[in-house]
Amino acid sequence: MNALYLIAIGLGTAFLLGLLNEQRRDLAYTLTLGALTMMSAISASWLVVFVATGAGAVDIFTAGTRPPFAINLRMGLTEATLTLLINLTGLFAAIHMGEVLLAKGRRAMAVLLIAIMALCGIVLTRDIFNLFVFFELIVIATGGLVLLSDDEHAVSAGFKYLIVSQFISILLLIGIIFGYHATGTLNIDGMAAIGAGGFALAFFLIFIAIVAELKPFPANGWALDIYESAHPGFSAVFSAATGSAALFALDKILAIGGPAWYPVATAIGIVTFVGANLLALPQTNDRRLLGYSSIAQTGLILTVIGQQDILGNQYLFIAGGLLFAHAVAKAGLFWLSDFVAQRELTAWASLKERPLLVFAFVTFAAMLSGLPPFPGFYAKWELVHALAAADRLALLGWILFGALVEAGYLFRWFGYLIKRESDEKVACTAPQVIPVAAAVLAGWALGFVWGDLSGRSNLLLVLPLLFALGFLLIEWAPAWAKNLLAIGGLSFYLLQTWQDYDPLRLIFLVIFTLGGAIIFLASFHAHGRRIGFYPSAMLMFAGLVLLIQATDSFGFFAAWELLTVGSYFLILRGKESEPHALSYIVFSLGGAFLILTAFALANAVSPAPTFEIAALATLAQPVAPWVFLLLALGFMTKTAAIGLHIWLPGAHAEAETDVSPMVSGILLKAGLYGLFVLLMSMGRQSLYGVDLVNMLLWIGALTALLGNLMAIFQEDAKRLLAYSSIGQMGYALFGLALMNHLGWLMALMFVINHYVYKSMLFLSVGGVAKRTGTRAMYRMGGLITLMPLSFIATLIGIIAMSGVPPLSGFGGRWIFYNAIMDAETRLPMVLIFLSGPIAFLYLFRLIHTIFLGQLKDEHRRIKEAPASIVLPQMIYVAILMGVALFPGLILRRVDAYISQFLPDGALNWDGLTITSQYGWWNPVAIMIVVACIFLLIFGWLLFVNRKAQKVKQFNIVFSAERPYRPETTHFAWNFFAPYKKAMGFLVQPFVTRFWGAVTDLLHTAGDLGRRLYNGNGQIYAFHFLAFVVVVFAFKAGL
Amino acid sequence: MSHLLPWLTALLCFTMVVAALVAIRGKSTPIAILAAGLVSLVASVLFLILASPDVAMTEAAIGSGLTTFLFFFVLGRVRRGDHG
């Protein structure tokens, strides 16, 4: 079909509508939909042809005359794709707006048709004046479509838009005519052949006019008003279709200007991206926020357009990926906003009753944030790599910063959706649902296509991910069935793949899979369907196993993002977890961006299509230390090293009973795994004379100390454990950074031990919290008799954790001491020495205030935690005992494996005694000796004191009184008050304040920026003119 | 005749500028509208001088004619509150 039919059908149908009787609205509507469908079909057929045959672009002449003497159009792959996007957006917008279109009659439908037609025209035309005409059509059509809204402010928004459009079109016209005068043609290709050198000023006017159609920050107040007040069905068009068409127009125009103008486009783009995202932060109106986000995304794509000189043949892949991700997601979100009655972001909570709509939101938010497996992810990957390769690091930094801010507000919004309360009922009608569903489908399909085009592994073909996504399809099943499937899947994966890995990876793999399976046992306690839990959890596990599987940087990063997202959803399920989940995802994504940058930098110096992780070892100065630093920082956000830790306590504490052990016992290990890989491949690096590994050593030690110190002041049992995790991760980091054989062994031992006892403790405490209905330890007490099994688990856990012989924790300490004997830096040890006894404090607090002391009246009737929660704890007790007695079972192989990297200082595993060059340790002997002594004395006591009977609770000597209130008699609150007096200065929330200040700063910046937009259309005109002047000055100064 | 054209042009241009200033800065809206119409009308004469009869016709019919009427239609509707 000739591409001209796109225009002819659109126009013809619009004219035809005028012939119909005003009363025949159904017919008119049917015609409209038919026309849009046909237009979509035409675009689709072209797309199919181009994809199938790989044919080049086709020129379409009008008036039977060749260009430049007549207007010509061009239909190529890009044009076909874009027009398809535009037409489909139009079609679904028409479906979405069905009601209002029918109400307003044929005129409204004609306007919509013409708008879509004109957008296609913008994409197709190769004539610059023709472009102007189509743009004017868009302006006027927009002015009309804005009015379809029932928001009474839409009129003023439309007027503001018209005011600025007038300025724009005048500048454009002047530019065009002087361009014509200089080149003697109006044909874009003809102008491009001559180049803009001779009419730079005129080209500037053309350029700036087209740029203005992209609503660049800060000259975009009018656009925001439209987004806010227009009908969401149209806003989708305005965002997705108009934005795409205008971007393509700019791309065409830049062919005239040539590379000299790329920096200008880049500068405008990046300022827009960052600025609009910052301003979006303080928004509370959903549609306005979407508007800001649209503008930001457009800015990002504009940046990409400005960077086309370095993107090579990846240009379309990147720009397209970003564009489609943005267009589909934004259209989807706008359509979705129609389900929500109020315009506050928090009102979206009403959607949470509808899992499918939540899924749609998740899809869109993930697309916008550039998360896998959506096109934006692949595009972001390639873009960052290209920028790093071209050494445009500042730009790279700003892009990632903006993306982080964007992810921040999107996920904050998602938090509102899931966590806030709403009384509104969501009514779904077919016209509302169809477009959203289409956008969701399109999003996933695009993800598949982009994965396919990426030349890397298509994430949507990766089995673990598919398995996780498969849980979406069986959400209707009862929780226990899904749980069985999850356990089966994890175990099966382990069985299938365990031979493929070296001992180190195998340990991590076992923890990720088998460890996960054990924790899933606890999930049997949940009833109902537990919607959302299994896809999230399995997404995280998919990410984890893919992380182990990954051999190249892409696979690694993709896995990293998957596990981050999965765990975010998991964490968000907690009752009060909204802010914590948010800070988790923001920190995690920030860390992920650092990792991405590091990989990009690494790939830049050793160019290869895929960058093997192992090739990190081959990096040399001056890049290597930077890569090391970025990767280390990225991984340390996951292990919650001090300074980057503030997300962890809330996230782990507020999570559900069986989620806490997953995110603490398992997820943290992903960061450690990364650090292992990093140190194994890169070794020592120094930057400006600072030994980075040494820095890690200090950070590890500080983390251990401060994590533990903060843990002792917690009143909340799960928070205590969470802070303890921070400290423990500090230990492990410290061990790794020792960079000697035993240090690594110790870190690995921590990996195992921490998984076991932290999972166990979280389950135990979770079970208690479930029964008592509180996590505040001072409100518990005396539960030992009621929950003996939980008590035993906790007891074993804290003995193991504190490192007291004979349990497995001691092995870790022993290796630690042997390891530091070899270390070159001694000062950080001091911190570690201090943190050891401090751990003792909080562990005692944990067990004492929960299980010992005075039982509260309201707890007298509670029962042991559910069997499903206790069972894994008992498994852990068994594991701990096993590891305590025979650490060699696991460690021996790892010891040998580590010797490949650090041959000195391996342990000797002869017999039952483990020998290092400094000392020795015989776990079995210790166990036997201790047991014998203990039993002997115990027997003696039983003998002399055999008739002891248990007395009642208050049968104690208490200042010659018998206390009668357990609350006053249970010493638990502010347990370590003196310590706070003495050491409290160390736990001032400096870090929290720092990040709080950063956030405040961003918000303040956003708020100040918002004041620019005072709502006065005339002021917006000032903005635009000032913007032109600034860009002019920028270009002149370039 | 032809040597008069530049002077005529200058006169027309001057008229347009003055009329435009009146349209912009004048107190009364109706006079502003009329002044704008005048600018348009003079412009169409200028177009004739610049050998563009098609444009001249269009400008006269549309720019100065229809547009001015449209303005007056609306002005007539909103006159009472016009204090801005």
Binding site: E136, V139, L224 | T9, C13, A20, I24, E59, L75, G84
Partner: protein, 118 residues
Amino acid sequence: MAYLAMATGFLLILIGFYGALTNRNLLRMIVAFTIADTGVNIVIVAIGYMRGRTAPILDSTVSAAAAVQRIIDPVPQALVLTAIVIGLGVTALMLAYAYKLYEKKRTLDIARFTELKG
């Protein structure tokens, strides 16, 4: 002559812009835009003007063969035709909007329509 016309055109554009930026009355803003539009049209036509040539219409005085030497550039004129019509369309639209805005608030002051902001 063309210079003079063009300068006038530019001046009209600037005057129009100034008016649009400083008049708070909606109608006066629209008036200012029409002046700027007229200015643009003059600039475009002036660009195409060539001294000593005639309008691009073939008739008894200008034969098809001599046209190349006799007529001025027709393209800008064609463009101006389009621009004028588009200008009218936009003006009409803005007027309708102004009416609608007035209907809502009984004022034409642009500074009063600032509910949407931030």
